[in-house]
Symmetry: C2
Subunit: 292 residues, 2 copies
């Protein structure tokens, strides 16, 4: 997905929010905007939003001297989501279609995002709203079909906290069948995205192999990924791509990708033909459901 | 009121919206952002928001070649508000306190604003919501008291369409007592602000003298006003200042100003201690109610 001009004010807002999270010094906040604004307006619109975000947050890190401004928010999100784990597991276990419930929860977990959203999700309410939020796109039937002949899943993670709900979906996938699964995290901290440290903190390494993307972009930007991640990407039977960033960077790809996310801004919602806030379980275009 | 760093992304959003209203050429929209972004981040924050807006909209006019991008929206707002005039007049005439009702309507008219608001007001619903919208600040008692010994009012207008509701308030003021009143409009088109042409179009000149501010700023910026407006400003017994822009430019002034507006962004709402959307009838600080 290309960047829209509407993204430019949004990136400036994000830069300011991140600068404020990094330091209380208003002059530093202003300096961040002075560097980010002229830079992002000159970038070609063909660059995807996560690639622009990468540059924006690099400036924030350089100017503030804080390369992980949302560290506290990530810790809090991980802890709050962990506290929900028993309740969420119970709901999945007791539901008529545990895999569908686990998908809904993993999608609801994607509301824990400090990028396009201006505020933070009510993590305590995630389990309840997961079950009532309408699907804007629902390719669950295709997802089930793809899984039937699947041996290897590549799971592209997104945010801290959210990964606890991803863990539940992975446990459900493993309960259904014997599959190999690799989970990709960001190489370095960016926004509130999950890194290896977050994955280990919430015990994701107990249920899956964790791989670092090789990039600090807040999404899987293929040109920046490590050879290992590219190999996994090219050979996996099914790819689960979490979050708006991964949708933005991979929506044009012709692989068997299922995008699981909440639509968080008008532009992405419009492109998906849904309302902001809708749950999305979307199979990549150009692939018939069930092709593996 | 000084400019906050949060205003910078908002101004970029406004620049984009105005550029889109002026032309369909996306390259021109991008060029506007390329010029506006580096300029506004370098402006000192002591400059008030309307002064920054003035520069932003000048760039839009220069780059797009359209100095009145919201002309159609202004015409539509004037026409829609004129259609409401009979209903609004009736409500004022039949109410227990016609002056208060006229104030509420004039404040509701301030929702017709294409600057800080991202969308356009539902002009058809303005009369109904005028009567139910809560006051965030209500210095109506002070306003009545100030009027009791008032002979001359300076009324600082804001937007096209809105001026129809201002006309009703002016008619009500004139019904109450014999006062002289001057109504100030913008010198040139900016955003959807009312100019002399708009005032004449809706017949405001039938009930008051109209004066042009001498400036194309989207608010009364005293340093830019004509000597005539300054003289009126310095000698009026009561000043009615409509809209968020006039609040931003004049909130620090120690004159007997009553600000009538809707709080349209988080920053102004926070400064006023109200919620976004609240109706505001606020007397300038440092003046006890009734001082004339």
């Amino acid at each position: 997905m290309k960047t829209y001009l509407d993204c430019i004010p949004c990136f400036l807002r994000q830069a300011l929010a991140a600068a404020r999270a990094a330091t209380d010094d208003e002059q530093v906040h202003h300096r961040v905007l002075k560097l980010v604004a002229p830079r992002i307006v000159e970038l070609p619109l063909e660059v995807t939003p996560p690639e622009i975000a990468q540059q924006v947050y690099r400036v924030v890190a350089e100017v503030t001297g804080n390369s992980d401004p949302y560290r506290k928010e990530k810790d809090r999100a991980n802890q709050q989501a962990l506290a929900l784990y028993p309740q969420a597991k119970k709901i999945v276990a007791q539901s008529d279609d545990p895999l569908l419930s686990a998908c809904k929860l993993a999608i609801a977990g994607n509301t824990i995002d400090l990028g396009p959203s201006s505020g933070y999700a009510d993590i305590g309410g995630i389990v309840e709203q997961a079950l009532v939020t309408p699907f804007g796109v629902n390719d669950y039937a295709g997802f089930r079909k793809s899984l039937s002949r699947c041996r290897h899943i590549l799971y592209l993670g997104d945010n801290a906290g959210e990964i606890v709900l991803d863990k539940i979906l992975i446990e459900e996938l493993r309960r259904l069948k014997d599959i190999s699964l690799d989970f990709v995290v960001r190489e370095k901290p960016i926004i509130n995205d999950a890194t290896l440290a977050d994955a280990r903190y919430i015990g994701l390494d107990e249920v899956t192999n964790i791989v670092s993307s090789g990039s600090d972009a807040p999404a899987i930007v293929l040109a920046q990924c490590s050879p290992e991640v590219l190999r996994l990407y090219n050979t996996a039977d099914v790819i689960i791509a979490k979050g708006q960033g991964n949708y933005e960077s991979l929506s044009g790809e012709r692989r068997n990708i299922f995008f699981l996310l909440r639509a968080k801004c008008q532009l992405v919602a419009r492109q998906l033909g849904v309302n902001v806030g809708d749950a999305i379980l979307k199979q990549a275009r150009g692939l018939s459901p069930g092709r593996v």
